[in-house]
């Protein structure tokens, strides 16, 4: 759980960094009057076409997600079995926080969000690249020329982020991901035994910082494209 979780945390950080490039692009294009800004396009093109990323890291990432979810359900089932008869009055033990008690719920919302995210970006991208050989931007018809265009990623992203319902779902999901991370981050250091003595307080603070900043940055990306791009 902890190792797959920490692996997903690394992935999330990398994903956030690339997304933030699109915010830089948007600000340069729309606020500072730049003619062209293709940082996001370059990064997205690299991620989408580099064989190491596509055929080594991507399968590992998918496996990491699968493993994390599989272990989550096995863990949940085992732990439920450890108390067959619950308390009549309910369990009123003092516990740290809501997030730590409801990892399956916050994780479940993340899966739901991933469904939308795959529908938005990953499935169209994989079909365009490996099946039809044609891509589209927004509502345009799919063509081979668009697929070959190295700068097609940014306009597609902006197009998707123009729908208020999608932006709303993004925001809510990332708040819940933040709760998942707030517990998960510190929990994984406890599980791996790093949380000792002088490190404990620092890990707690880092956990809160990570759980606030990373989801917030994803939300900022969605909002910038919705309002500014």
């Amino acid at each position: 759980m902890a190792f797959s979780g920490l692996f997903l945390i690394l992935f999330l950080t990398q994903h956030m960094t690339i997304n933030l490039l699109s915010v830089v692009d948007s600000l340069r294009l729309n606020i500072f009057g730049a003619e062209e800004s293709n940082l996001f396009n370059q990064a997205a093109y690299f991620m989408g076409n580099n064989p190491v990323v596509q055929f080594a890291l991507q399968p590992v990432l998918i496996a990491g997600f699968m493993l994390h979810m599989l272990m989550a359900f096995v863990l949940q089932a085992k732990n439920a079995a450890a108390r067959p008869d619950g308390y009549q009055y309910g369990n009123k033990a003092r516990a740290y926080n809501w997030a730590s008690m409801n990892m399956l719920i916050t994780g479940g919302v993340v899966i739901g969000f991933l469904g939308l995210h795959f529908y938005d970006f990953w499935i169209p991208e994989i079909t365009a690249k490996y099946v039809t050989g044609k891509a589209h931007i927004g509502d345009s018809p799919a063509t081979e020329a668009i697929l070959a265009d190295v700068n097609r990623f940014y306009p597609e992203l902006v197009h998707r982020m123009k729908y208020p319902w999608r932006v709303a779902i993004y925001c809510v999901s990332f708040v819940l991901l933040g709760l998942h991370l707030n517990h998960g981050f510190q929990s994984s250091f406890q599980t791996t035994g790093v949380s000792q003595g002088k490190y404990v307080a620092g890990i707690k603070k880092a956990s809160i910082a990570f759980a606030v900043i990373v989801p917030l940055m994803f939300i900022v990306v969605a909002l910038v494209h919705f309002f500014i791009s």
């Binding site: 732990n79 079995a81 450890a82 067959p84 033990a93 517990h183 929990s187 790093v194």
Partner: protein, 248 residues
């Protein structure tokens, strides 16, 4: 004060139990919780019924025998306190109190509020000891030990094996108890030599007893009458990982 009590009654391990309601009219706030239970039992006996079975022994917070989950909290509402040390001044006149046994697959109910905690004994038997003869009491300063280590070993050793950690954990995990025993021995030179074997066999036994897995919610430590720290669990996890990578 006057109290309404809802108490779990269960004839034996095989019979299905249920909550039974009682009222007690003259409870003094100076009584301990167990004295209140004694008064209730007296009233039940006088009415010709079977008294409520519950565990207790020292009644001074050191043996770990008393248990009970009071209004959803093991050892009741006062932090850092065993049921025997809890006093009725923690409650108000007219209160309704729910009293249930510790609930976990690893702690089957024997009768009423008594549960079988021998799983803890079996976990200790699987490795919670130092296997060399240490001889007669040696000079206290013969083996120098850093003050901080000695203090932390002592803190871990204050675990009284009551099982409140299991009762409070949403996963009924016994990891706070097991880790306290492991950390106590691992911090001292006599215990450290066998730490890796110990952690493996105790964890195996813990799983066999049907306790759940820790998800680091922290309920155990918050409810533990001795305030055993979660850092012991991190230490146990680290030792377990180390012993999986290099077994000796």
């Amino acid at each position: 004060m006057k109290l309404t009590l809802h108490v779990w009654r269960q004839k034996d391990a095989q019979t299905q139990g249920e909550m039974v309601d009682y009222t007690l009219d003259s409870v003094s706030e100076d009584m301990s919780f167990l004295e209140m239970m004694d008064v209730l039992n007296q009233q039940i006996i006088e009415a010709g019924d079977e008294p409520i079975a519950f565990d207790h022994d020292c009644r001074e917070g050191i043996c770990g025998m008393c248990s009970m989950v009071i209004n959803g909290q093991p050892h009741g509402p006062q932090q850092g306190t065993t049921t025997c040390q809890l006093h009725m001044r923690s409650f108000k006149d007219g209160d309704s109190i729910y009293i249930e046994p510790f609930r976990a697959k690893g702690f089957p109910v024997v009768r009423d509020l008594m549960v079988d905690r021998s799983a803890f004994d079996r976990i200790i038997q699987s490795g919670g000891f130092v296997s060399v003869g240490t001889g007669a009491a040696p000079d206290g300063n013969a083996i120098p030990i850093r003050k901080e280590e000695a203090d932390e070993a002592f803190n871990a050793a204050t675990c009284i094996g009551c099982g409140a950690c299991v009762a409070s954990c949403k996963n009924a995990s016994a990891m706070l108890f097991v880790s306290a025993k492991i950390a106590q021995l691992d911090r001292l030179p006599q215990g450290k030599v066998e730490s890796k074997e110990r952690v493996r066999s105790m964890v195996v036994q813990m799983d066999e007893e049907g306790f759940g897995n820790c998800t680091n919610t922290g309920a155990c430590s918050a409810e533990c009458p001795k305030g055993i720290s979660l850092e012991n669990i991190a230490r146990m996890n680290r030792l377990y990982l180390q012993s999986s990578v290099s077994p000796t």
